[in-house]
Amino acid sequence: MAELKQEKTFWEKLVQIDRRFIYLIIALAMTLPFFFQMGLPIPATKEVKDIYDLIETFKPNDVVILSADFDPSVSPELLPMFDAMFRHCLKAGVKVIAMSLYIQGPGLIEPVINQAAKDYNKVNGIDYAFLGWQYGYNLVVINMMENLKQTFPVDYYGERTEDLPILGNVNNYADYDLITSMNGSSTYMTWLLYAHEPYNVPMACGVTAVSAADVYPYIQSGQFIGMLGGLKGAAEYETLISEKRMATMGMEAQNWAHIFIILFIIIGNIGFFIIGRKK
């Protein structure tokens, strides 16, 4: 029996459009805005500003630990956060200790640390320390709360931590004024469980946007001082330290990509209802 070939309606054609066409549109939406920048203001949310404000109150001998607990897969979101916070700490003149609970972390942050140190004329071992990585996730956190130099006997470059001038009086939890973990999973819970709860060390976190919505209960409870959520969080921090870097630029494309995704949802749903009503 010959099948009656029914002509597809406009909406049917639109809903069944080739996925590669969608890929092309979204790729353009994330590329073209860099050539037509709007430079819209990026005001800081409370969660971000609270971290910034706390660091601003610190004195030169106060210690900030920045833990880059992530790997390259999420670095476009988290590396700008680390960069912005590290730069802020150097600018504020506080002692900043960079480390990672992820073995893939040090390779990511080392070039960023070097560039920031160069820009601010700071010296490794004197103005900041880069401890690299140590095996053990929660074990590292527990260990460094009691004895930092035993946990990290050498820094990333193989220098004995005992010999680093910046770590002279930095020994244990009592000496840490803020710990910020940037992570792409729920590593912030490791810090919360093993550093904040037993030792009451002030904590903040930087998370990928995927995890951001899950962190709000810990901010409201006061367990975290604040949070940098996704690229937007990093862009807000860059605004606060008055430096237009990766995240701020990224927001140009983020604007339009979001608009197109919303349009996709709306068009998809209109098509779905029109086709559904016809049937």
Partner: protein, 209 residues
């Protein structure tokens, strides 16, 4: 615009495009990139593992500082390595049990404190209809309570209990919506990072203005 002369940047762009080619279909360039990732990751991990952990935390303490007690966990560790020998794989259980037992024991009080008690405490907020904060606190209290009710499956979701569970679903949907919105943002940010690499590092465009 000034095209990069750094061979590493070119290599980075080559692999970026190799992976992106997967959008069209699976191909040898993508497979090559996959295996290069594995190779680089393992090589990188071995060097850092040796430099930052094995040497300073085992070799030096035992062989230079005479901290011989660490030989005992080393034996436990060797027993764990025996997992690859089927006949002796049961010996690995000693190290695994030592690790898992300690981890579980440590986790109980800390989880109770951080995820349960502190969270419950933060939900006990002053409720009032006279201020925005008071109303928000009511919403938070109702939200936490009704979602907890929704997840309580030991009692049938009927009557008042069922009604409360239904309110809980609405809170969950809004929560999932927020997560979804943020997830879209995250996925797009990852590609934007790669675009910035190509435009800035490879093509040498000055986007900062």
């Amino acid at each position: 615009m000034q095209l990069s002369t750094n061979i590493w940047v070119w290599l980075g762009v080559f692999f970026t495009l190799s992976v992106l080619s997967f959008l069209y279909k699976d191909n040898p360039f993508y497979k090559l990139a996959e295996h290069v990732t594995v190779g680089v990751s393992i090589g990188y991990a071995i060097v850092l593992w040796w430099n930052l952990t094995v040497y300073p935390r085992f070799i030096i303490p035992v062989f230079e500082n005479g901290h011989f007690i660490l030989i005992i966990p080393a034996i436990l560790g060797l027993m764990m390595v025996l997992r690859i020998v089927p006949k002796w794989s049961w010996l690995s259980r000693y190290a695994i049990c030592f690790t898992v037992g300690g981890g579980a024991g440590m986790g109980i009080p800390r989880s109770m404190q951080a995820s349960v008690l502190r969270q419950l405490e933060a939900t006990m907020l002053p409720l009032s209809l006279n201020s925005a904060t008071g109303i928000n606190n009511i919403v938070i209290f109702i939200g936490v309570l009704t979602v907890l009710i929704y997840f309580f499956f030991s009692k049938e979701h009927k009557g008042v209990f069922g009604g409360a569970a239904k309110i809980g679903i609405w809170f969950l949907m809004v929560g999932f919506g927020a997560t979804f919105g943020y997830t879209v943002m995250a996925r797009l940010s990852l590609f934007i990072g790669r675009v910035l690499f190509i435009l800035q590092d490879f093509l040498g465009l000055n986007l900062a203005g």
